[in-house]
C-alpha cells in the first residue's frame, strides 16, 4: 500500500508533465486538424532555454531561488512561444489549404531541424543541472517504508493545476477562447464575423508552446539532465496521451497525460523498467480498439 502510494505520487508528477505537452498537440489538432510533430521538440527547446536562462540568472548573482525560477519561467515561456509562433508561420501557414499530408511532412522536417539545431548549437552531450529544489515531506511511515513527496513534485503538481485552471478559463470564458473554438468549428464563418483566423491559429501555437516550455522547465528541475533528444520521446508520449484522451479534447489531453504517466510508473515499479514504453503504447492500442475516438473524444467525422 505504501509502495503503491509512492508510485502514485511519482506517476502523477510524470503525468502532469506529459499532460502539459499533450495540450499543445490536441489544441493544434482541434483547430487545424494536423498533428504538429515538432511540438515535442518545442518542449525540448523549452527545457534548454530554461537551463540556459537559469545559469545566466545565477551567473548574474541572483541567488534567491523563487525569484530565479520566476524569471526563468517567464523568459522560457516567452522565448519558447516565439519558437512555436515561428514554426507555424514558416512551416505550416504557407501550406494551409494544400493537401493533408503536406503540413505533416513539414512538421516532421521541423522536428528534425530543431533537434539538429540544438545538437549543433549546444552539443550532443547530456546537460545537467544540480538539484535546485530539495527537501520534501514524509507522508507516512509504515514498517520502515516511507511515502514521501518531494517539494519539486508538489511544485510540479501545483503549477500544472494552476496552469490548467488558467488555460481552461481562457478557452471557456475569454474572447480569444471563443474565437479559437469558433475557428475550430467553422473557420470561414469565424472570419465572416471578423475573427482573424490566422492570428487565432498563431495564438494557439503560442499557447501550446508556452505550456510546453513550462513542462520543459519542470523536466529540467525534476530530472536534472536533458539532451537534444528528449523532445522526441516525451513528444511521442504526450502525443499518445492526447490520442488516448481523445484528440481535440482538452480535458482528454490532461487525463491521457496522467494515465500514461501512471502506467509508465506503475509498470516500472511492479514489473520491469525496460518495457514501460511497451506498456504505455499497448494500453493506447487497447483503448483505441474499443473507443476509437479516445476516452473523452467526441466521435467525429474526418476533417478534410
Amino acid at each position: 500500500m505504501e509502495y503503491f502510494l509512492q508510485q502514485l505520487i511519482n506517476g502523477l508528477t510524470l503525468g502532469s508533465i506529459y499532460g502539459l505537452i499533450a495540450i499543445g498537440y490536441t489544441m493544434v489538432y482541434g483547430i487545424i486538424g494536423m498533428i504538429n510533430f515538432a511540438h515535442g521538440d518545442i518542449f525540448m527547446i523549452g527545457a534548454f532555454v530554461s537551463l540556459i536562462v537559469f545559469l545566466i540568472v545565477i551567473g548574474l548573482g541572483v541567488t534567491w531561488i523563487p525569484l530565479v525560477l520566476l524569471i526563468v519561467l517567464l523568459v522560457a515561456m516567452l522565448v519558447t512561444s516565439a519558437y512555436g509562433w515561428t514554426v507555424e508561420r514558416l512551416a505550416y501557414r504557407p501550406l494551409r489549404g494544400s493537401f493533408r499530408l503536406a503540413p505533416l511532412i513539414t512538421a516532421i522536417g521541423m522536428s528534425i531541424f530543431l533537434q539538429n539545431y540544438v545538437q549543433i548549437a549546444q552539443g550532443a552531450r547530456v546537460k545537467s543541472l544540480p538539484p535546485v529544489i530539495t527537501g520534501g515531506y514524509t507522508l507516512m511511515e509504515v514498517d520502515g517504508f516511507t511515502v514521501q513527496i518531494s517539494n519539486i513534485q508538489i511544485i510540479i503538481m501545483i503549477v500544472t493545476v494552476v496552469l490548467m485552471a488558467i488555460f481552461a478559463y481562457i478557452i471557456a470564458r475569454t474572447p480569444l477562447g471563443r474565437a479559437q473554438r469558433a475557428t475550430e468549428q467553422d473557420a470561414v464563418m469565424a472570419s465572416l464575423l471578423g475573427i482573424n483566423v490566422d492570428r487565432t491559429i498563431s495564438l494557439t501555437f503560442v499557447i501550446g508552446a508556452a505550456l510546453a516550455s513550462v513542462a520543459g522547465l519542470m523536466f529540467v528541475l525534476y530530472y536534472g539532465v536533458i539532451d537534444f533528444y528528449i523532445g522526441f520521446i516525451a513528444g511521442i508520449k504526450a502525443f499518445t496521451a492526447a490520442v488516448l484522451g481523445g484528440i481535440g479534447s482538452l480535458p482528454g489531453a490532461m487525463l491521457g497525460g496522467l494515465i500514461i504517466g501512471l502506467i509508465e510508473t506503475f509498470w516500472s515499479a511492479y514489473f520491469s523498467i525496460e518495457y514501460k514504453d511497451v506498456a504505455a503504447f499497448s494500453i493506447l492500442a487497447i483503448v483505441l480498439i474499443f473507443l476509437p475516438s479516445g476516452l473523452l473524444g467526441k466521435p467525429s467525422v474526418e476533417k478534410v
Binding site: P175, R181, Q185, D186, V188, L192, L193, I195
Partner: protein, 250 residues
Amino acid sequence: MSSTDAGKQPAGRPILQVQGVDAFYGHIQALHGVSLDVHYGEIVTMIGANGAGKSTLMMTIFGHPRARNGRIIFDGWDITDEPTHHIARRGISLVPEGRRIFQRMTVLENLQLGAELAPDSHFDEDLAFVYSLFPVLQKRQNQRAGTLSGGEQQMLAIGRALMGKPRFLMLDEPSLGLAPLLVQQVFDALRQLNEEHNMTIFLVEQNAWHALRLAHRAYVLVNGRVTMSGTGKELLEKEEVRAAYLGGGH
C-alpha cells in the same frame, strides 16, 4: 405594402457596388460579369433559382471565393482583395447559406461571437435588442445551439449577424426551411430593422414573393448572370418573373 411606396425609396449614394464580377468554384464559373448596386437605406433583393449563383455572390463579396475579374466596392473602399475578416470589420454582416451557427457552443456564445466587431459597451443593449426581436433566443440562451430547431437556428444566425452592429446586412435565404408564420416574422423583423434602424439590407431569396414585396429594388440572377432588375413592385408584375419564380403558388 407601404414600404415599397415609390416616395420612400432612398436615392442615396451606393454602399455596395459589384462591378463586372466573375467567380469560379474550382473550374466551374459560377458568376459571369455580375454588376449591381445597393444604396444606403435600401432593401435590395436578388432572386433566382437554386444554383443560379446567389450564394456564391454573397460569399464572393466576402472573398470566398475571390472575384476573378471585376471589382467590389463597399462604402467607397475597394474590398475585392481584402482579407475576409477585414471586410467584416468594415461593417458588413452575413447570414450565410445553411446558417452556419456554431453548433457546439451555446446560444449566448454564438451571439457573443457575433459581437466581436461591436464595442463592448454596447453589448447588453445589443443583446436586449436581439432578444426583443427573437424572444425565444433568450429562453434558450444557455442551450447548445445545435439543439435548436431549424427556425430557432435561423433566428440565431440573424441575431448573431445583428450583434456586430452592421451598417449593411446580407442574408442568404433567411426563409429557407421556416414555417410560413416564421417566414412572416423574419420578414417583419427585416422591415423593422430597415425602417426603424435605417439598416441597409441585401438578401437573396428563392421565396420571391415575400422578397419582392419587402424589397425596394430587386435583381434576377439566372445561371450566374443578372438578367433583370427593377423595383420590387415592377418585378412582381413582370410575366417572366411570375412564371419562373412565383409559380402561381402563392
